[in-house]
């Protein structure tokens, strides 16, 4: 099927079967490789993107369901060389080691803060729990999210 996707505010024509994962289309058809493959079974969150404002695991999100909805990936966050506050906070807290999970972590956190700018600790843990960091930078990631939340109080 031929469809038009709205990714990071731009229109992209894509030809693929309706059930193709959004992740594969983003990475391989559109070249947006900031979004990562980690498991293909919605378990690790490395592929997290925003679809219609909601954080979604794009590895199991079918292409046909993405049509007509605004999609945002990690590539959309920094604007004119200025980092999103979450990206800056991840740097400032040193919230990464190998970094492979970081795009997904930041997108999941972005979705959380967009809806709930001042989440409690438990709300952060609850919403971030679908994202795995094997290097164990979890406490710093939570600190980074809290830092951004604090700054907007």
């Amino acid at each position: 099927m031929k469809v038009t996707l709205n990714v990071n505010g731009e229109k992209h024509d894509v030809e693929a079967e309706p059930e193709t994962s959004l992740l594969e289309v983003l990475r391989n058809d559109l070249g947006l490789t900031g979004t990562k493959y980690g498991c293909g079974e919605s378990q690790c969150g490395a592929c997290t993107v925003l679809v219609d404002g909601e954080s979604m695991h794009s590895c199991v999100f079918p292409l046909e369901d993405a049509v007509g909805k605004p999609i945002f990936t990690i590539e959309s966050l920094a604007k004119a060389g200025k980092l999103d506050p979450l990206q800056q906070a991840f740097i400032d807290e040193g919230a990464m080691q190998c970094g492979y999970c970081v795009s997904g972590m930041i997108m999941a956190a972005r979705a959380l803060l967009n809806k709930n700018p001042h989440p409690t600790h438990d709300e952060i843990i609850g919403r971030m729990n679908g994202n795995i960091c094997r290097c164990g930078a979890y406490p710093r990631m939570v600190a980074a999210i809290k830092r951004v939340a604090e700054a907007t109080k």
Partner: protein, 668 residues
Amino acid sequence: MTSRRQLLKTLGGGILVLVVGPASLGTELRNQRGRAQATLQKLSAWVHIAESGVVTVFTGKVEVGQNARTSITQAAAEELRVAPSVVRVVMGDTDLVPFDMGTFGSLTTPRMIPQIRRAAAAARERLIDIGAAKSGQARSSLHAHDGKVIGPGFSASYASLAAGDMFALDIPADLELTPAQNWKVLGTSLPKVSASAIVTGTHQYTSDLRRPNMVYAKVLRPPTMAAKLKTVDTSKAAALPGVKVVRDGDFVAVTAASVRLAVKALELIEADWTEVEQSQHSELFKLLRGAEPLPTTATGPKLLAGTYTCEYIAHVPLEPRAALAEWDGKRMTIHTGTQRPFAVRDDVAAAVGLATGAVRVIVPDTGSGYGGKHTGEAAIEAARIAHAVGVPVKLVWTRQEELGWAYFRPAGVSEITSGVDDRGKVVGWTHDNYNSGPASVESPYAIDTKRSQFHPANSPLRQGSYRSLAACFNTFARETHMDELAALAGVDPLAFRIQNLDNARLRAVLEAAAAKLNWTQKVASAGRGFGIACGTDKGSYVATAVELTVAEGNVRLVRIVVAYDCGAILNPDLLKNQVVGGVIMGIGGALYETIDFANGKVLTDRLAKYRVPRHHDIPVIDCVLLDRKDLPSAGAGETPIIGIAPAIGNAIFNATGKRLRSMPLKLS
């Protein structure tokens, strides 16, 4: 292999400092201004100062999240007296960097960092020599500072001093490195140098690389391990548009213009396999232990014997094995995430039938390894396919392949016997480990009669390295047993350890962890317990203390304190990140992770079936670093993991009275 001439041409002018491994080679290079005499293969690192002033360090180490790129940057900046921002580090490119065995064993810090510091310091001294010659001033009146050689009425940038013909020099024998007490860049918390590329998603991991005309590959896997291909029909797959089938004996792969098409082609292959009978998970520990009786057991007034077990676990690097292979008819260039680029180069050459000089392996900063990427499975497969199809081939293993077809941390059995006297002194000790490995099987406690032995076994599953490998389980067995002995002797577990230790560094981390947790004030109550453990591996010392609760068989971690000593600290903040990260990874092996298998098949081949630590598992973690500026720096990527499992197990005993002797720790 790049020739010296090619390397010099690539680098342009400037100063090149070569670091020779064995001391005997030093004379070959001495005073050889104008040319490097030693063969590049014999060198262990080099540092180049370009006419632009940019400093480039070349090393065979790779970056897998342990922050070697940052600490190497600091090492060069420190000794060259330049800002870290002018330092570039070329890592893991077999055409450009000196041979290196690989990034493992926590060796980057104790072995590579000093070599790079020596090279940088030699370059600095050489620049001062040139400054003295140019200015006509006494050498002793000049010093290096912020990329310049400075003296009374004289200041010249390295760029201006390094201009002209390339020359190479060796390391003077009497070269002095900057003592840790005087460090300005090392010892500080320089942020990870690649952080902004990571948070913006622009860092290109192997799996992100793309090339014109690139195809995606999938490899046919057998239904069970060691199965042999009987017959295969690939005609339906080959009929798909643009799909190519590659077959070489039992190796069958497909390529296509998209992953989805490659997956479809793979599904259309009809294969028949001859499978072989294999051992079962239920008989694992019996199999590893064997029937051989123990050589001796401990003696003493009060005797104790315990058997401990550890399951196979997987590394689960979040970036699975991946490779991009490009064959131009003469040379094979492979980007892949591996901890041993030179070994993978050799393996690829052998698999494809090329000379090693015809293979180049490049390791982009990789989505972690933890000892799980010592091999080059994806690189070898991608190279075989690229050699056959003649266009760039990308192969990214699925999570299912990564869990099912990579290697595991060894399962193991440990048997410990001990004796303790009336004063609470351990007087006899034996530790026999089966299959895990020899690391940390020796007890660090002061015991008069000790015997420790590692017994290799036939592993039913493919096994290999892992963060602190055997030290993890051997420490679990020993520290659990020490806790049991403390209970038998009626002594507090911390006091019992300290009264049996004469190792000052181990004692110091134990006391630091206990003080931070306020150990002596902590009293177990119903369902709430405290545990402590300590250990040493690869020249570092760790103590871990845990507070947890147990309710209805569920363990809830409340607080972890980890105290760590790895000598002089290179980067306190990144060290903390490693130490805490190691502890968090260790929670998985302590409480959740088990590879289940049957009939030659891994059953836990999805993350839904293989539980790793997540956000909600992580308690408050305090990290206490003991900075020993008087001691050489040791690596820190591994040892912090070894204390967490026994500390949790001992806390569970403290909370419930139930002694658990198996990893992972299960109450029911």
